[in-house]
Subunit: 469 residues, 2 copies
Amino acid sequence: MSANAKITHFKTHDIRFPTSLTGDGTDAMNTDCDYSSAYISLYTDSPDKSLVGHGMTFTIGRGNDIVCAAIAEVANRLVGKNLEELFSDMGKTWDYLLADSQLRWIGPEKGVIHIATGAVDNALWDLFAKSRKKPLWKLIVDMSPEELVRSTAFRYITDAITPEEALEMLKAKQAGKAGREAKVREVGYPAYVTSAGWLGYDDEKIARLTREAVHAGFNHFKMKVGADIENDLRRGRLIRSIIDDPAEQRRPAPDPASIIGKNAGPTGAVLMIDANQVWDVPQAIEYVKGLESIKPWFIEEPTAPDDILGHAAVRRALAPYGIGVATGEHAHNRMVFKQLLQAEAIDVCQIDSCRLAGVSEVLSVLLMAAKFGVPVCPHAGGVGLCEYVIHLSLIDYIAVSGTMERNVLEFVDHLHEHFLHPCSINSQGRYNVPNKSEEGYSIEMYEESIAAYEWPGGSYWQKRAAEGK
Amino acid sequence: MSANAKITHFKTHDIRFPTSLTGDGTDAMNTDCDYSSAYISLYTDSPDKSLVGHGMTFTIGRGNDIVCAAIAEVANRLVGKNLEELFSDMGKTWDYLLADSQLRWIGPEKGVIHIATGAVDNALWDLFAKSRKKPLWKLIVDMSPEELVRSTAFRYITDAITPEEALEMLKAKQAGKAGREAKVREVGYPAYVTSAGWLGYDDEKIARLTREAVHAGFNHFKMKVGADIENDLRRGRLIRSIIDDPAEQRRPAPDPASIIGKNAGPTGAVLMIDANQVWDVPQAIEYVKGLESIKPWFIEEPTAPDDILGHAAVRRALAPYGIGVATGEHAHNRMVFKQLLQAEAIDVCQIDSCRLAGVSEVLSVLLMAAKFGVPVCPHAGGVGLCEYVIHLSLIDYIAVSGTMERNVLEFVDHLHEHFLHPCSINSQGRYNVPNKSEEGYSIEMYEESIAAYEWPGGSYWQKRAAEGK
């Protein structure tokens, strides 16, 4: 590409998939979801016509148009900007994206404007990686510690981590990077499945999907809880009866070092539970104590995502029962993660590639989690999230934390067919590493998918409308 | 009105005032603001044609259209609903407004969707008060403790206050309500001014406006800080030289009981400083120590509004210097206030009538602040905020906390001329009580103002466009 290439214009797309028809994605809070993508493409005047950056954030339906409108406001700030200047200091570029004080007011750094900023920042990182002909994860792990620190958002977190500390941490990890990269390319990145655990599924479907997941090599399984404790216990025992059964296993027993403290059963299988914010703090504590018998590793999102002190209280109360606390998919910015870590509120840090404002803010959280010694297990599922997060976990493992087996990355087998470079799982139930040919951040959708599912004018939705639905 | 009256439809208006032309509202974070209102009118089929509910949230310009789009999504939920059913349990109605799980995802309970919900909830309370032919404050202070508790949002805060505790607190305040109402009608509600302290003003203007404020009877003054410490010290000394000068006073010295702990000068005058979130935590502590000589009562918004633990750290560090911490205008929901109180992070609780999701969530915070013994000094200024908050402070004083002199309510003399029932200040620099003829929540704008300042089609903006600006 030319050193003078600029961003010339952008397009947004409001893309919605009719997942509410199948019960996929149902939990105690979210009873009908139409998985949606607020999608942006950044166009350039590069001589290489294929140099287009794609990004998105994820929603579950209504309001996706509002997010697209916010994306357009943020993306306007990039039109006419020189690519190499933007790429030369991605932390400064991130600060610039957030620096419109009028738009800041309707956040600040939260909700619609923040997830919209995430879509734009993600698209810019996609463009950056494509311009270097590398997958996003590889672009970042190949950075010097100095460049990685420069690419990170530090405002408001320097009481927890300074750029100087981050630099020292990254330098200490330099020597092992090549070895870790080779290892993860060989074995893949550990994953867990949520596909079997949705509230909307009946027992037969849960058993079938759980068995399929065990046979596919998974040994971490998550189920949704919180609507009814007897139902939760029944479903939990059903899942446990399958994942704990040595006869069902098609893989070697896992390394015990990777399952310490995870409430693993006799096969090394681990069960996690997720309440999606349905409880107040005292309720959360009482309810989850009642689920002790199914031995969950952690309770995810026991209460409001803003309630740092509440999560800390739940964690203290459940520690004697061997149940940890995880949260983060709705933690809206790096300041919330900073406090979750400072308050010792979480055992597991669940970043979201689309809730945080893009890669630069994700780097802040990866660095803080590494400093505080808390494993990062990103949130995925939805649409596009699995494609994104494998990149983030690879960055975490290779360049930042240096650990992988204590971490697991969510996998849900939905909607991957719409992406040019879908994520994939190997025969051991682990994510494959996006390879050299997959330049960028793996989020580009097929034009046919956009044409079908764009709301409300796409061919799918027009057909539904014509049928009177 | 008829018992069968329903909400038939609504209209939204994106109204923007060109305040960036004058430097009004400039601070260290917000360098150009076009004070804006995302405004909604709820129409009914009541035989009384004038029964229309008006509500708004406040922004500073770009993005106001995005908020209006979100308001429409939330208001859609009310169309066709019976008014008396909505009014019979305003807490349940509030839960219903927030219960669209798809819209919840793009918050949850924060940012664009939450302030939009605030505009709608405010409009509904306006309608409720008008249907009872009372000002909003009077509607609420006349409620039984049971009805007030029923009208309050309790989800996610029961670890700090339960409905039962709230009921006991309100019952204990019942006996004194009539006396407090009579007293505040007579003397007015205490206020402070920010008008002189904007960063964009030169020293001559600061001195003139400060003198005018002293002569108008005010004795609490706020100035913006954070761009340059020498400049802040010079402006602080200038303001102090006027407000501490006995010769400038036109009012009796205040009751010493009302100024205890406020770093008051020889005339009882109090200075507050406001940084509008410009610092990281360590910076905030060092910078504010450097302003000790101008004796501020508190530093407002020293860092990110989400940083509860950061505010607590700043408060601990500044306590030896006699400087308190205030925050809340950007605290995005009751869970943030809950934690600010639990963590002992604030000396003063600054609710915002438009950042919280309307009256029901404001009641949650008033009850928690009263329980924790922290005075509530609402944020105002902007456009419409002063009109709103006098109602909220009256509810706090008469029905909830029972105290007034330790609290002060922000007053900024901007843009009141656009409202049918503008707030007003008496000769002692105190807010007048909205009287019986001012039914509702005082936020209805003149049709002429809407026609002139609606963006981008209003006559003012069309004229600007025609002039090529």
